[in-house]
Symmetry: C2
Subunit: 326 residues, 2 copies
């Protein structure tokens, strides 16, 4: 399978790295909106092209991994390139998934390509676990916790505060809430009871630290509904201690069975990730394999993780899977 990457940021680089771990895949080319000569990739002897010339290179790519942002890039790019390629993205604006799906589905069906949107871990693996667990335990409660990990959106919000030079935000599940859910207590949890937020802020010289802290803690939507801690650190400390992009989280379903609903069950799925973009990339590539195969079988249109039989993700044959993993 020849993989093309559109957009060479953290996610694109993650896809590039993950391709090396999948023997049936190779990186074919990278497309960028920047000047291609300015983009240095890790892999030797692979071309970087301007996205403006993408139509010339359709024969070089079996699946195009679109690594843009969900706010403005993907809603345009994924339907556009589904006209030319089998495409996959990690669109993660949950509320706009139905609309994005419809647009990509229309484009992919017209062109006979196969597309998959919202691959990754949430949406993605977390969604799958919500679905499986809801089907198994129809009567129950769902809980999702995120973290400990870096929230890009909240880190960006910090950096927009007056007097802030740089900063990073960690989302952290409240341990007592996790334990109550895990114990099957079915707690009703407010936003504040589920997660705390921890900020590491590099102030500009002479900035009013109290004002920064107040501005962050009272910021609506982002911080005001949470217990937030603000630490002021130096630029060196930020680089040394907070350069990574870890993340993770927990999906629970707690439910009951039995004639009198007398038996309780807890299903828990959790991820602890050193690198959010690299893990997301790894999920994307498994689904890239699936849509490539589906396209060969004559299937077109847009899919999600819900539509893909798990065996399609694996390089192993059905016989091997039954013998070794079932």
């Amino acid at each position: 399978m020849k993989i093309g990457i559109l957009g060479y940021g953290n996610l694109g680089r993650g896809v590039e790295c993950a391709i090396r771990q999948n023997d049936d895949m190779q990186l074919s080319c990278v497309f960028t909106r920047r000047d291609p000569s300015s983009v240095k990739i890790l892999t030797d002897n692979v071309n970087v092209y301007s996205v403006s010339e993408i139509e010339k290179h359709t024969a070089e790519v079996d699946v195009l991994v679109i690594c843009g942002g969900s706010a403005t890039d993907l809603p345009v790019q994924t339907p556009e390139y589904a006209r030319l390629f089998n495409v996959i993205d990690s669109f993660d604006t949950h509320a706009r998934i139905p609309e994005h799906f419809a647009n990509v589905d229309e484009a992919a069906k017209k062109s006979g390509h196969t597309a998959l949107i919202s691959a990754g871990w949430d949406p993605g693996m977390f969604s799958l676990n919500r679905l499986y667990a809801n089907c198994i335990l129809p009567e129950g409660n769902d809980y999702t916790f995120w973290g400990k990990g870096v929230s890009q959106g909240h880190s960006d919000a910090i950096r927009r505060v007056k007097g802030v030079k740089d900063g990073k935000q960690y989302t952290i599940p409240v341990p007592e809430a996790l334990e109550a859910v895990r114990a099957g207590e079915n707690p009703t949890l407010t936003t504040r009871q589920k997660h705390t937020r921890e900020c590491f802020v590099v102030p500009e010289e002479g900035a009013d630290l109290a004002a920064i802290e107040e501005a962050i803690k009272t910021m609506p939507n982002y911080f005001s509904d949470y217990d937030t801690t603000v630490h002021f650190i130096t630029e060196e400390e930020l680089k040394r201690d907070h350069a990574g992009i870890p993340h993770g989280g927990f999906v629970f379903r707690t439910g009951v069975t039995g004639w009198e609903k007398e038996h309780k069950h807890v299903i828990e799925y959790s991820l602890k990730l050193d690198s959010n973009p690299e893990f997301t990339s790894s999920v994307i590539l498994a689904y890239a394999r699936a849509i490539y195969r589906l396209n060969k079988e004559g299937v077109s249109g847009c899919k999600t993780v819900f539509d893909i039989a798990p065996a399609y993700l694996s390089p192993m044959s059905a016989d091997e899977l039954r013998a070794h993993l079932l």
Copy 2:
């Protein structure tokens, strides 16, 4: 969907209970090898038939859930009844899955029915999690722990020991092993380091307790490779404190990503189940829905959980799933 149950033990009763939690299903009838008049089921106004008359009742059943044992019942029953019905079982002898699959596949293809074998949690949900995690993290290690829970096979083994009137065995993961795996340490673990075994034994009057304990602890295959604890209790205590059939366990995949494989990831899936047979039944019914739908689409032959796209398990439409669970 009209569900038929073949075999009315713990699993059959679990299926009966779970049907009440799925609005699109109803219990149509129960087939038994016993005298039907001796089998009292929980549901009102549902017929219990002798399995010898099962051919007369094919029109009453959309999916037959076969609730026999894996050792001798299912290898015969599932292929046999795949000639007459869409069938599903929870065959759990991992080593014999390929052979069982081939037999059921042949019968189901000939008759145009859809079958699914090995539904449940292991094989079943644990297998799915092994597969997904292996596809996402091709370079890594797998760990499966079982328990804390009752092992039927080990409880049976205890009861065969001379001087034992009754008994129950719990399989328990070693907490230190779990923690080492969860921390991403990739330990190499012996059988003894992964699980301990705890036995609650009701001795016959005047039995030699020391001899019983010795016989259990040194029993090859079942106990000799484990640290085993034996508690002698009264029949009343066994009934009062050990009547349930809880189980559960943990599936881990730990792996690496990055250009230099510098980032570690831990994927963990765990179950904590008050009732092993009722949870297994709940998984079976979700997959019964899937094979019923597949059969309506014209698909025949044998499937496993690896072959079923998750959306087929849910009573919700694809639109609803994308809007609410993705």
